[in-house]
């Protein structure tokens, strides 16, 4: 009802604007949760920045349409999962940049990795190639060992991709599923690390995985 008027349905005086707004906000929350069949709003431990996530999702969709065209025989029976891991921590010294990507343990225990791609964004690449090392924890101690080393050439600014399937596959057999990437970057290159939280060009890893079918035992 208009301000100061009475409500035609129940005859009560119109609520104060603040009260009415709070009631509508509460109604909006309840309506969305009910329609999503959620008892309460989910808690998200450390969501990546929205811009970074939307950029990654768009790149993924572009890759999926290419992949589907290139490999029409891909699994169509719904057991195919797409895993996305956005950079969770990154440190850079003079020439070296360390990137860390986490995967949740519930996923690693129940899936097999089919392929995995690392996406890096370079605003100002240089002429020489960079060295990309995939590190994994040393079983004997606390250090890291080099699982693979690659020379990566970047011709122009924008997104660059690197196949990290083998490294992620071996990662999924370990206790703490965390991929560490070391980049050795010449002096004149910019850093692939995001300048701040609003920067949407965060490095990320996309993995195509297949849900492991439960182990079936046939008794005779």
């Amino acid at each position: 009802a208009a301000k100061g008027a009475w409500c035609p349905a129940c005859g009560a005086a119109a609520p104060a604007p603040g009260t009415q707004r709070d009631a509508l906000l509460a109604l909006a929350k309840q309506s969305i949760l009910a329609k999503l069949r959620l008892p309460a709003r989910p808690g998200v431990p450390q969501p990546p920045s929205r811009g970074a996530l939307l950029t990654a999702l768009r790149r993924m969709r572009a890759q999926r349409s290419d992949t589907a065209a290139a490999t029409p025989g891909m699994l169509r029976d719904g057991r195919l999962l797409t895993l996305l891991s956005v950079l969770c921590a990154g440190f850079s010294s003079s020439h070296r940049v360390h990137l860390h990507f986490r995967f949740s343990q519930e996923v690693t225990g129940s899936t097999e990795i089919l392929q995995a791609t690392l996406y890096l964004f370079w605003a100002a690449p240089g002429a020489q190639p960079i060295t990309v090392r995939l590190l994994q924890p040393d079983p004997a101690g606390s250090n890291m060992t080099v699982a693979s080393e690659t020379q990566l050439e970047v011709q122009r600014s924008g997104w660059t991709t690197l196949d990290v399937g083998a490294a992620v596959r071996s990662l999924f057999r370990q206790e703490t599923p965390r991929l560490t990437v070391e980049l050795e970057v010449p002096e004149d290159w910019g850093s692939p690390l995001p300048s701040d939280h609003s920067d949407s060009h965060w490095p990320f890893v996309v993995a195509q995985a297949q849900a492991r079918t439960p182990h079936r035992v046939h008794r005779r």
Partner: protein
């Protein structure tokens, strides 16, 4: 349909936008940034009964006169949504899966009298 103005009394659509950041939901709802929870408000006098919005035409004018004349058949008429569209949401579920869902009939586009 008619959108409510500052002092609208007749059946109209009242716009109401919920900013997810304002209610602290921007961390689990990735897209969109808010929800247009528009609603219908206002009175439905007899002459507006059965008209989805003010269709200013000759036929409406004639119908109005007939309804006013037959006030005896007074009937309750309510201001309700006559056009709605889905709300598309991209959000995290409890297991940090990214889900896209289209919830039907969540956004009111126009109102009218029953």
């Amino acid at each position: 349909g008619v959108d409510c103005g500052a002092d609208s009394r007749m059946c109209c659509r009242q716009e109401f936008f919920v900013d997810f950041k304002e209610i602290g939901w921007e961390d689990w709802i990735i897209q969109p940034e808010g929800y247009h929870m528009n609603y219908c408000a206002g009175l439905c006098p007899l002459h507006m009964a059965g008209i989805p919005g003010l269709a200013a035409s000759f036929h409406t004018a004639v119908l109005n006169r007939i309804k006013v004349a037959s006030a005896a058949a007074a009937v309750d008429s309510c201001c309700v949504p006559t056009q709605r569209r889905p709300l598309s949401l991209l959000y995290y579920d409890r297991d940090s899966n990214i889900i896209k869902t289209d919830i039907p009939d969540m956004i009111v586009d126009s109102c009218g009298c029953t």
